[in-house]
């Protein structure tokens, strides 16, 4: 008994791998797995972006045949909507910030040689990849990809005969998401255990960088949310393939009884949104963490209100589980229930505002270095506020009934959860690229990329608010023939043109990424003069991260501009600077 009780933290180290396959393909190294996740997300984001491009083209030129797809029928348009949403939410926003950067930098930032369970880590990546392959396969089966939206609302999603994509394509969609859930669960429990168990000496919980806090809380959300989606997916598969009726009431299709009866579509909505709302925070929390990190580094100031930031992350995570009903105001829920969900939802505004003001407080009177990661971090704050403002509108049942299913909703969530999170990913890419690849990214290309993305994003999504308020419904393929929406066609055209330009801007990023990997300027070990542990080690980090020793931590993560220190920053592993700070 005694032996293993004291072996609390068994040695997680494993020998450096030999050979290409064990080193780069079936790797147990968290850094390689992080890169694998990152490039998976990169492939996925371009697929998702291509789908959105097709949608935008179709919206203003509805009769134009599209490449690969030919004439766009209404159901094809719904397929585009569905696959764009699903791929972006699961394989980009969940995969890149958490699986990619979290995997790479969480162990290094806490001073660990690897994740707590390297084999599980590898399995979680390969599971996710399998999920992606199954998802893409849905395009190529008879009937094509499903058309039930990323939310998969029943009964549309719960029967084989409701539409052309609802046969094998929808089955693959559900199976892919179930596989993704299993991969995400393995990843989440690995992240949590690593954070709890493998912090280097001196790295107390209150000395963790805010990035680590964000990944940690995100992992907790994932652990609790994906299990529920897994159940919902299993029940949906049963409805589709075993003839059960969990989500299907007595309905007819084309006048024919379906044989289903007694189920409730609302049950699906409850189960889905119990996962779906925390998923929003799974996408945005890591970006918040990265943003906090970068604002402090490039303002050369300690983060404003570290403890408040930590409690705000925890508060957002907790409240995230209490508000799923605000997606269901239109479902006929009791006004009292709606009121409770509404109050809870607006309550999330409090920790969100704490974070925003702390970011502004960090910037205030800082000696700001406008590097490309900093630009994207500031852009993140801007998008977070712009997208966040429309949150309280939608959180009120009275307004939501008006705005529900109009372009106002996509405008809101694209700004705050979609593009804001993407800006977090961009900021993190520019920031950590030197550590990951040993070279700097090209700064002028990065700036061009920033201005294209920043202005383009606003040009695309700000007008969508007006479309929504004017009553333009979302998800419809062809609205050019509707008389009362004629006046809005110029605005739709503007959005599409803005999308062309913004997407072209993303190619700059792609070129910069691969060009810099091979031709970029050599990076030093700590090019940004930052304080956290990843900047104390070699570039790129050796297999066990710190070359055979484990760092000892003496300081908090944001010791910039310290009075009396020889430089304007004190690294976490530097000698202690005293309790006064």
């Amino acid at each position: 008994m005694a032996t293993h009780e004291f072996a609390a933290q068994e040695s997680h180290a494993h020998a450096a791998p030999q050979g290409f396959v064990r080193k780069w393909v079936f790797s147990l190294d968290h850094k390689v797995i992080g890169l694998q996740y990152y490039f998976l997300a990169l492939a996925a984001v371009f697929v998702g972006m291509f789908l959105s491009l097709l949608m935008r083209i179709h919206l203003i030129w509805p009769t134009l045949p599209l490449p690969l797809l030919g004439d766009i029928k209404p159901e094809t348009y719904l397929t585009l909507v569905t696959m764009h949403g699903t791929i972006m939410v699961f394989f980009v926003l969940t995969t890149a910030p958490q699986g990619g950067f979290g995997n790479y930098f969480l162990p290094i930032q806490i001073g660990a040689p690897d994740m707590a369970f390297p084999v599980l880590n590898m399995l979680s990546f390969w599971t996710t990849l399998l999920g992606f392959i199954v998802m893409i396969a849905a395009f190529f089966v008879a009937g094509g990809a499903p058309l039930h939206g990323w939310t998969g609302y029943a009964p549309l999603s719960a029967m084989q005969s409701t539409g052309p994509g609802e046969g094998l394509g929808a089955d693959l969609w559900i199976i892919s998401i179930a596989i993704f859930c299993i991969g995400a669960l393995m990843g989440a429990l690995n992240f949590i255990t690593t954070t709890l168990d493998m912090r280097a000496k001196g790295m107390t919980m209150m000395r963790l960088p805010l990035t680590v806090w964000a990944w940690f809380v995100t992992a907790i959300l994932g652990l609790l949310a994906f299990g529920v989606l897994l159940s919902a997916g299993i029940l949906l598969l049963m409805d589709r393939n075993l003839g059960t009726s969990f989500f299907v009431p007595l309905v007819t299709i084309n006048g024919q009884l379906t044989g289903h009866k007694g189920g409730s579509p609302l049950l699906w909505q409850h189960l889905f949104w119990f996962f779906g709302h925390p998923e929003v925070y799974i996408a945005i929390l890591p970006a918040m963490g990265m943003c906090s990190q970068l604002l402090s580094v490039f303002s050369r100031k300690p983060i404003f209100g570290y403890k408040a930031m930590v409690y705000a992350i925890l508060g957002i995570g907790f409240l995230g589980f209490m508000v799923w009903g605000h997606h269901m105001f239109m479902s006929g829920m009791s006004p009292y229930t709606a009121f409770a969900f509404s109050i809870m939802t607006m309550g999330i505004g409090v920790p969100s505002a704490i974070k925003t003001f702390n970011w502004l407080g960090t910037l205030m009177r800082g000696r700001i270095r406008f590097t490309s990661p900093m630009l994207f971090a500031i852009g993140f704050v801007s998008l977070f506020v712009s997208g966040g403002i429309s949150g309280p509108f939608l959180a009120q049942p009275v307004l939501d009934i008006q705005l529900h299913d109009t372009y106002f909703v996509p405008a809101h969530f694209h700004l705050i959860m979609g593009v804001a999170s993407i800006f977090g990913i961009f900021a993190a890419t520019y920031y950590w690229f030197p550590k990951m690849f040993g070279r700097m990214m090209n700064e002028s290309m990065a700036r061009w990329h920033f201005w294209f993305s920043f202005i383009g994003t606003y040009a695309i999504f700000m007008p969508m608010h007006y479309l929504g308020m004017a009553g333009m419904p979302r998800r419809y393929s062809q609205l050019t023939e509707v008389t009362y929406l004629h006046g809005l066609i110029p605005l739709q055209k503007f959005i599409t043109y803005a999308a062309f330009v913004t997407i072209a801007g993303q190619l700059i990023f792609l070129v910069n990424l691969f060009w810099s990997m091979f031709k970029g300027k050599q990076a030093s070990d700590n090019p940004w003069e930052a304080t956290t542990l990843e900047w104390t080690t070699a570039t790129p980090p050796p297999h066990d991260n710190f070359g055979g020793h484990t760092p000892v931590v003496h300081n908090g993560p944001y010791e910039y501009n310290v009075p009396g220190a020889p430089r304007d920053y004190v690294m976490q592993s530097d000698p202690e600077i005293g309790p006064a700070h």
Partner: protein, 264 residues
């Protein structure tokens, strides 16, 4: 693990927040997540039960007695699991293996009884629309009526107990790997062949048996990736999982069986 290595690790890391080893924390986290998965299923069941008027209570005494024996098997298996953990802590390798095998035996007994129960109910007419018809059985019992009037009954029954049965099956495989390591793989393959060939094509277990094949493949991969020796901590962690599966049954048994017994 050598004591000096342990000592080194102790001195370079912060103490774990829960004062225990990583694998145990990992398993607790998995159980937390899995309880949400079962929670969602139980929620779906409760939702269906409450929103359906005239929820039937068709389980006759035969089913209840059978389910009670199954419960006894599971409870006994938790006892043998505790004994296996105790043997492993005392370094009693033989006792550990013996008690693990006893636990697996109880688990297998549970699965076999449960499978028999499913087959009987399906033959009597409690079935899902896509389950193949059982040839030669003219089902005209109350269950046929239940399947027609309240399809939710069969759906939730098979969904919940099926998910639980899957967990017990995976638990038996898990314990088998801990107890016998590599030697368990061929045994698992034989079990798969027997289960596959011995069940008729119309039985849901004919295809369900492939879980064993998939389990054998996954176990082979994991053993190939991590060919390590298992120590007492592995037994303890496996025990956590086993007790959890047992605990879940303590919710399913009253909710699904007892609340739908005929005497009510």
């Amino acid at each position: 693990m050598a004591d000096s290595a342990v000592h080194d690790i102790q001195s370079v890391y912060e103490p774990s927040l829960f004062g225990t080893y990583s694998k145990k924390i990992g398993m607790w986290l998995f159980l937390l997540s899995d309880s949400l998965t079962f929670g969602a299923l139980l929620y779906a069941y409760s939702y269906g039960r409450i929103s359906t008027e005239g929820w039937p209570t068709p389980f006759h005494s035969e089913s209840i007695v059978n389910a009670t024996i199954m419960t006894a098997f599971l409870l006994t298996s938790s006892l043998t699991m505790v004994l296996a953990v105790r043997a492993s802590v005392h370094g009693d390798a033989k006792g550990q293996r013996l008690w693990l095998l006893a636990t697996m035996l109880c688990g297998t007994g549970f699965i076999v009884l449960h499978g028999r129960e499913w087959s009987n109910l399906i033959a009597e007419g409690l079935t899902l629309p896509m389950f193949p018809k059982v040839p030669g059985r003219e089902a005209a019992s109350e269950f046929v009526n239940v399947s027609k009037t309240v399809p939710q009954f069969g759906a939730t029954f098979f969904g919940l107990t099926g998910m639980h049965m899957l967990h017990v099956t995976l638990g038996v495989i898990y314990l088998g790997v801990v107890a016998l390591r590599r030697k368990f793989i061929p045994i698992l393959l034989v079990l798969w062949l027997v289960a596959w060939l011995a069940t008729p094509a119309y039985s849901p277990f004919h295809y369900g048996a492939h879980v064993l094949l998939i389990g054998a493949i996954v176990c082979s991969i994991i053993l190939w990736l991590k060919p390590k020796l298992y120590d007492s901590s592995d037994v303890e962690v496996a025990g956590l999982y086993w007790h959890f599966v047992d605990l879940v049954w303590m919710f399913i048994f009253p909710l699904v069986y007892l609340m739908s017994a005929k005497i009510l």
